[in-house]
C-alpha cells in the first residue's frame, strides 16, 4: 500500500469507527422501539443509511472490497427499511448487528495489519436472504423500474457466485441465494437503480451525469462525423483536423469524468492519432480516415450500449484499440516507443542527494554561477526551498514549474534541481530543490509557494559565506568543468535511479515487506475551540512579550537617569570643593580683617549655579519612576505566569477527549451479554462527556469490558431471583465518570448480589493461591482484593462471557500502568462498585519527591498512602524481611536499592550507618491491593512534575517509569510503585 493510501487508511478507519458507532447506537434504539411496538424514526433510519453509505463510499477510494461489499448490502437493506418497504424485525436487527460486527473486525484487522482479514460471506448471504424474503412480493412492481443489467451484476457478484446458479423459490442460506436473486428477471427490486448511488459495475458509471453525458456524446459524435466527412473531401484541411481533434478530446474528457472507461480508452487512442496529424503538415491518408470512422463507430456502439443497457461490458474494443495503437506507432516511429520509466521501491526518495549538493553550492552551471554572484552583489536574501509532491499529483514537473514561476516573480531564480522533466520519469517519491534570491521575507515566501499537492519541506536562508567558499573554489577550477558537472550530476542521478530498481530482488522484497505494515500514526481529533483557545493564549503571550520589551526600555531609561544623577552629584561635589576653597580664601583674608567682596560674590555665584543643578536633580528624581516600573514588572511577570500555566493546561487539553467513545460501545456489549445469558439488564451511563487523555481512553476499553461483563454475568442475579428477593426485576449496571481533583474517577457498579468475601477466601484456598495461615492475617479489604489475583475466578460455572479467570488482574495491571488505582466496595445483597482512579493525564503528575543516596526520586502521589517515621527499635525481622507494625498491621519495609540497584558512594554509606541507628523515614506506597514501606533518606516535598519518558536504552529498567526535570534543573527519576511492590515479594 502506498504511503498516501496509508495516510488515508487511518483517516478512513477513524471516520468509519465513528460511523460504526452511529450504526450500533441507532440500531439499539431501533431494537428498543420494536419492543415498545413503535416505529423507528425516519431520522434514525436516514442516519444509519448515511453512515453505511459513507463507509462504502470512502472504502471505494481505497479499494477495500470486503468493506465495500458488506456495506453495499447493509446499505441496500437499510435503504428498504428507510423506504418502509421492509419492516424492521428482531431477526433483521440481529442480521444487521452481525454485519456491524463483521465490519468491526474488518476495521480492526485493517488497523492492525493493513489487511482486510475477515469473513463477510455469511452476513452478505443473510442480508440477501432477508431481501429476497421481504421483497419477493414486490417483484412485479420492480419490473417496471429501469432494467438492471444482468451481466454487470454477474461480474459484480462473481466472487460469491456458485458455479451452477439454480432457480430456487425458497431462499437458501448460502451464497447461492443471491445469485438466484440477481439472475432472475424481475429481481431488480433488490437493488433498484438509484440516482445518487453509483452502481457496482467495475468501473462504476457515474449515474448522476450519465444522461447529460449521453446527450453531449451524441452531439459530439455527429459533429465529429461531419468534420471527418469534410476532411475526406479535402484531406489537408488543418482547421478541420483541429476541429476533429477537439471533438475527440471533449469526448475523452467527459467520458473520463463519468468513468465510462472504454469510451475513454478508444477516444484517447483516436486522439493520439489525431494529435499526430494535427502537428504535422501533409495530407491525411484515406486509410487513416477509414480507421477514424471505425473508431467513431465503436464509440457510437458504446454510447448505444450505455443508453440501452446502462453498461459497456457487451462491447469489444480491443480490436479497434489495437489498430489505433498500431497506426499511432507507425506514425511516430518505433524508436520513440521504448521510453523506459524508472520505478523503485515504495517510499524511497530520489534526487535528494542532487538537491542537497546543489543547495551547498556544488555542481552549478555557468548561469547559476553568475546569478549567485549577482545575488551576492545585490545583497539579497538567498533561500533554498525543498519541496515534495503529494502522491495524487499528476505531472509533477508542472507543479514544480509553477513553483519556479512564482519564485521568478519574487526575485531571481538561481537554479532548480533536478531537471523538471526528470520528475515525471519516475513513480518514486522525489524531492525538488530551488535556490532563489529575493527581497521577500521568509514567511512571505512560504505563503507565496502555497500550492495544492506540493509540500514545502523546508525553505531556509542560505549560509552565504559557506556557499561563497564553495563557489569560489569551484571558480578556481576551469569553468567548462562546471558545466560538465551539471550533466554528470543529472546522469548520475539517472544511474542511481537505475541502481535502485536493479537492487537484489530479495532485499527489495524485504524492504517492501517492512514497509507494508502500516505505521502506527496515532492521530487525534481536537475540538477546534481548544485550538482557538491556545491561539488566543499564544496571542496574549506575544502581548506579554511586548510588555516586557517596554519594561526593558523603561529600565534602560532608569539606568540612564541613574547615570545622569551620579554625574550631577559629582558636579555638586565639585561645587562644594570650590565653595570650600573660596571660604578658605575668605577665612585667610579675614585674618587680615579684610572682607573680600569678590570672594563673597564668587560664592554667591557658585551657590546660584548649585541651585540650578539641584533643580535638575529634583526633576530627575521626580522623573525617576523606578518603583512604578518595578510594580509593572511584578504585574507583567504574574501575568506571564498565568498565561504560561493556561497554555500548559491548554496544550494538555488538546490531548483530552471525551470518554463517550468508550462508554457508548457498552450499550451494545450489555445488550449482547444480556441476550446471550437471558438476563434483562439496564445499563445506566453517567458523565460520558468527561474528558481524559486520549492514551488512557484508548487503553480503557478492554478493562471496562471485563468489568461490565463481570457485573452483568456475576453481579446481577437473574430476573426471577431478583423478583423473589424483592428487588426490581431488571438489574442495573452503571458506568459513571467524574472528575475528582486531578483524577478521573470511573465507576462500574451493579445492584446485584455483591461479593461474598468468605467465598473468595474459600476459592483462593481451593486454588492454592493463598495459605490458611495467610488468611488469618487478612483484613476484609485484603480478602476482597483477592479478585485481582491472577488466575482467580469464582464463577461456579464457566460461561462464555466471563469467569475464565482472566479479567480483574488484567484490569488492575492496565490501570496501574497509567498510574491509576482500583478500589472495590461491595455490600452483600446490595451490589458491588469498582472504582478506577486515573490521573487526568499521563504527562503531568503530582509527585512526592524524596532523596535516597545522592539522588532525588519521585513517587507518583496517587500511589503514596502515608509517610511515617519509625525508630530502629520498632523494626523487626520476619523471614529476613524488615517489617514494622502500624496500627496492628504488619508492613514490609524495603530499601529501594534492593529493587532498582542504586549504588551508594562509599563515604556516604558510613553516614547512612549512623543514620540507621536513629529513626527512619518510610513512604508507604500501594498498588491498590497491597502496601509496602519504602525507606527513604529525606523527604523533599510535593510537586507537580512533567514526565519525560525514557529512550529505548532505559525503558526496560525495572521500577522506573521515567524522569523529570525539576525547577532547579536537577533530574528526578520517577518510581513505578506497582513494579516495586511486585519486585519486593
Amino acid at each position: 500500500m502506498s504511503e498516501g493510501q496509508n495516510e488515508f487508511l487511518s483517516e478512513f478507519l477513524d471516520e468509519s469507527e465513528e460511523h460504526l458507532a452511529v450504526l450500533n447506537d441507532k440500531m439499539l434504539e431501533a431494537e428498543s422501539s420494536i419492543k415498545q411496538g413503535t416505529d423507528m424514526s425516519d431520522d434514525d433510519l436516514n442516519a444509519m443509511f448515511r453512515a453505511a453509505h459513507t463507509i462504502k463510499g470512502t472504502a471505494s477510494f481505497i479499494g477495500l472490497n470486503k468493506v465495500i461489499n458488506l456495506m453495499h448490502k447493509t446499505e441496500t437493506l437499510l435503504q428498504h427499511l428507510r423506504n418502509r418497504e421492509i419492516n424492521l424485525t428482531g431477526e433483521i436487527v440481529d442480521v444487521l448487528f452481525s454485519s456491524f460486527d463483521s465490519l468491526t473486525s474488518l476495521l480492526t484487522s485493517l488497523r492492525e495489519s493493513g489487511e482486510e482479514a475477515g469473513e463477510i460471506e455469511n452476513d452478505v448471504a443473510k442480508i440477501e436472504m432477508i431481501l429476497n424474503q421481504c421483497l419477493g412480493r414486490a417483484q412485479d412492481a420492480a419490473k417496471e423500474r429501469k432494467v438492471a443489467e444482468p451481466q454487470a451484476a454477474e461480474s459484480q457478484e462473481s466472487e460469491e457466485k456458485s458455479s451452477e446458479p439454480q432457480a430456487v423459490e425458497a431462499p437458501a442460506p448460502t451464497g447461492q441465494a443471491q445469485d438466484v436473486l440477481i439472475e432472475e428477471p424481475g429481481a431488480e427490486g433488490v437493488a433498484p437503480e438509484q440516482e445518487d448511488e453509483p452502481r457496482d459495475v467495475e468501473p462504476k458509471i457515474n449515474n448522476k451525469y450519465l444522461q447529460q453525458f449521453l446527450d453531449e456524446l451524441d452531439q459530439n459524435i455527429a459533429d465529429f462525423e461531419r468534420c471527418l466527412l469534410s476532411l475526406e473531401e479535402q484531406n489537408d484541411d488543418k482547421e478541420m483536423i483541429n476541429n476533429i481533434f477537439r471533438h475527440m478530446h471533449t469526448i475523452k474528457g467527459s467520458s473520463g469524468v463519468i468513468n465510462a472507461q472504454k469510451i475513454t480508452n478508444v477516444s484517447h487512442k483516436m486522439e493520439n492519432v489525431l494529435s499526430y496529424l494535427r502537428d504535422r503538415e501533409g495530407k491525411v491518408d484515406p486509410g487513416l480516415i477509414a480507421l477514424l470512422f471505425k473508431g467513431l463507430d465503436v464509440i457510437g456502439s458504446l454510447s448505444e450500449a450505455l443508453k440501452t443497457v446502462g453498461h459497456l461490458s457487451g462491447v469489444d474494443i480491443t480490436k479497434v484499440c489495437q489498430e489505433l495503437d498500431d497506426c499511432h506507432a507507425v506514425l511516430i516511429g518505433a524508436e520513440d516507443q521504448n521510453v523506459s520509466i524508472a520505478s523503485g521501491a515504495d517510499g524511497e526518495v530520489i534526487f535528494d542527494e542532487e538537491v542537497t549538493a546543489f543547495f551547498e553550492g556544488h555542481q552549478l552551471s555557468e548561469m547559476e554561477h553568475e546569478r549567485y554572484q549577482e545575488a551576492f552583489k545585490q545583497q539579497s536574501n538567498i533561500y533554498n526551498v525543498k519541496i515534495s509532491f503529494d502522491d495524487s499529483v499528476i505531472l509533477r514537473s508542472m507543479k514544480a514549474m509553477i513553483v519556479e514561476e512564482r519564485l521568478k516573480k519574487s526575485g531571481v531564480l538561481i537554479g532548480t534541481r533536478p531537471l523538471l522533466e526528470a520528475l515525471d520519469e519516475t513513480d518514486m517519491k522525489v524531492y525538488c530543490g530551488f535556490t532563489v534570491a529575493t527581497n521577500k521575507k521568509h514567511n512571505e515566501l512560504e505563503t507565496l509557494l502555497s500550492l495544492a499537492g506540493v509540500q514545502i519541506i523546508f525553505s531556509q536562508t542560505v549560509d552565504i559565506e559557506k556557499v561563497k567558499g564553495i563557489i569560489v573554489k569551484a571558480e578556481q577550477a576551469s569553468r567548462p568543468q562546471n558545466k560538465v558537472n551539471v550533466e554528470e550530476g543529472v546522469s548520475r542521478s539517472v544511474e542511481s535511479r537505475k541502481g535502485a530498481s536493479m537492487k537484489n530482488p530479495v532485499e527489495e522484497k524485504l524492504m517492501a515487506a517492512s514497509k507494508s505494515v502500516p505505521s502506527d500514526i496515532s492521530t487525534i481529533r481536537i475540538d477546534s475551540r481548544k485550538l482557538d483557545n491556545l491561539m488566543n493564549l499564544s496571542g496574549e503571550l506575544v502581548i506579554i512579550r511586548a510588555q516586557f520589551a517596554r519594561l526593558v526600555n523603561l529600565f534602560n531609561n532608569d539606568v540612564a537617569n541613574q547615570k545622569e544623577t551620579v554625574r550631577i552629584m559629582e558636579n555638586i561635589e565639585l561645587y562644594f570643593d570650590t565653595i570650600k576653597k573660596e571660604i578658605n580664601d575668605i577665612n585667610g583674608s579675614a585674618k587680615e580683617n579684610e572682607v573680600d567682596d569678590k570672594g563673597v560674590s564668587r560664592i554667591h555665584k557658585v551657590i546660584t549655579e548649585m541651585m540650578t543643578i539641584f533643580g535638575d536633580l529634583n526633576k530627575m528624581v521626580l522623573n525617576n519612576d523606578i518603583i512604578e516600573n518595578i510594580h509593572a514588572l511584578d504585574e507583567t511577570t504574574s501575568m506571564l505566569e498565568k498565561i504560561s500555566s493556561n497554555i500548559q493546561s491548554g496544550v494538555m487539553q488538546t490531548r483530552m477527549i471525551p470518554i463517550e467513545g468508550v462508554f457508548t460501545r457498552f450499550k451494545r456489549i450489555v445488550r449482547d451479554i444480556s441476550k446471550e445469558i437471558n438476563k434483562e439488564v439496564d445499563l445506566k451511563i453517567e458523565g460520558q462527556e468527561t474528558e481524559l487523555d486520549k492514551k488512557i481512553v484508548d487503553g480503557l476499553g478492554d478493562p471496562l469490558t471485563h468489568m461490565i461483563r463481570n457485573s452483568v454475568d456475576h453481579g446481577i442475579e437473574d430476573n426471577q431471583t431478583r423478583q423473589d428477593l424483592g428487588k426490581t426485576r431488571v438489574g442495573s449496571v452503571y458506568l459513571k465518570a467524574s472528575h475528582k481533583g486531578n483524577n478521573i474517577c470511573i465507576e462500574v457498579g451493579d445492584d446485584g448480589k455483591g461479593i461474598d468475601c468468605e467465598k473468595l477466601v474459600e476459592k483462593a484456598l481451593d486454588k492454592g493461591l493463598i495459605t490458611a495461615e495467610q488468611v488469618d492475617r487478612m483484613s476484609e479489604k485484603d480478602k476482597l482484593n483477592l479478585v485481582f489475583m491472577p488466575g482467580f475466578s469464582t464463577a461456579e460455572q464457566v460461561t462464555g462471557l466471563s469467569g475464565r479467570g482472566v479479567g480483574m488482574d488484567v484490569v488492575k495491571n492496565m490501570i496501574n500502568s497509567v498510574n491509576g488505582v482500583v478500589d472495590i466496595e461491595t455490600k452483600l445483597g446490595e451490589g458491588t462498585n469498582f472504582m478506577l482512579k486515573i490521573p487526568l493525564t499521563l504527562a503531568i503528575i503530582q509527585a512526592l519527591l524524596v532523596t535516597i543516596g545522592s539522588e532525588i526520586y519521585a513517587f507518583p502521589l496517587e500511589t503514596v498512602t502515608e509517610i511515617i517515621k519509625v525508630s530502629k527499635e520498632d523494626i523487626y525481622s520476619v523471614d529476613r524481611n524488615d517489617t514494622v507494625k502500624i496500627r496492628d498491621h504488619a508492613l514490609s519495609l524495603i530499601e529501594l536499592e534492593k529493587v532498582i540497584k542504586i549504588k551508594r558512594k562509599e563515604e556516604k554509606s558510613q553516614d547512612e550507618e549512623k543514620k540507621k541507628k536513629r529513626s527512619r523515614k518510610v513512604v508507604i506506597i500501594t498498588d491498590g491491593e497491597s502496601r509496602l514501606g519504602v525507606v527513604v533518606d529525606e523527604l523533599v516535598g510535593k510537586e507537580e512534575i512533567v514526565i519525560k519518558s525514557f529512550t529505548e536504552h532505559f525503558s526496560r529498567v525495572k521500577g522506573l517509569t521515567g524522569a523529570s526535570i525539576l525547577a532547579d534543573g536537577t533530574v528526578a527519576l520517577i518510581l513505578d510503585s506497582a513494579t516495586i511492590i511486585r519486585e519486593s515479594r
Binding site: 469524468v257 494529435s275 499528476i394 508542472m398
Partner: protein, 122 residues
C-alpha cells in the same frame, strides 16, 4: 462572503460537475463560459476571485484566453483544467502565469484543494 468563481469549459458536463463541487463547498459560481472568448469577456466584466479555464476549446483556446486575461490583470487567479496529455499546452499556460492546474478526470478533493490554495484559503 462566498468567493466568486467563473467556470470555463466547452463541455457542459464538466461545467456542471465543477459547479456542483464548488457550490457544494461554499463558493459562488457566478458564470459559466463556453469558450475562451466568453471567458475573457466575463473576466473583464465580472472580475471573479478565480476562474477555471479549459485548454482545448472552440473560438479561443484556454492559452490565448489566459494570456489576454493576465495581460489585463496580472494578479488574476486562473486554474487550468486539462487532460493529462496536454503537457505542452499546460507548460505554456504555466509559463504565462496560470495559478495552478487540475487534471481531468478530477476528484472533488483535487479541485477543492487547488481552488483553496489558489485563493490562499489554506
Amino acid at each position: 462572503m462566498a468567493k466568486r468563481i467563473i467556470v470555463t469549459d466547452d463541455a457542459p458536463i464538466i461545467r456542471l460537475m465543477l459547479r456542483d463541487i464548488l457550490t457544494y463547498n461554499g463558493y459562488e459560481v457566478i458564470k459559466e463560459c463556453n469558450n475562451g472568448q466568453e471567458a475573457v469577456e466575463a473576466f473583464t466584466e465580472l472580475k471573479p476571485d478565480l476562474m477555471t479555464l479549459d485548454i482545448v476549446m472552440p473560438e479561443k483556446d484556454g492559452i490565448q484566453a489566459l494570456e489576454e486575461i493576465l495581460t489585463d490583470d496580472d494578479s488574476a487567479k486562473i486554474v487550468m483544467v486539462t487532460a493529462v496529455d496536454q503537457r505542452e499546452a499546460l507548460m505554456k499556460a504555466i509559463r504565462i502565469g496560470a495559478t495552478d492546474y487540475i487534471v481531468k478526470p478530477f476528484e472533488n478533493d483535487r479541485v477543492l484543494s487547488a481552488v483553496r490554495k489558489a485563493l490562499c484559503e489554506d
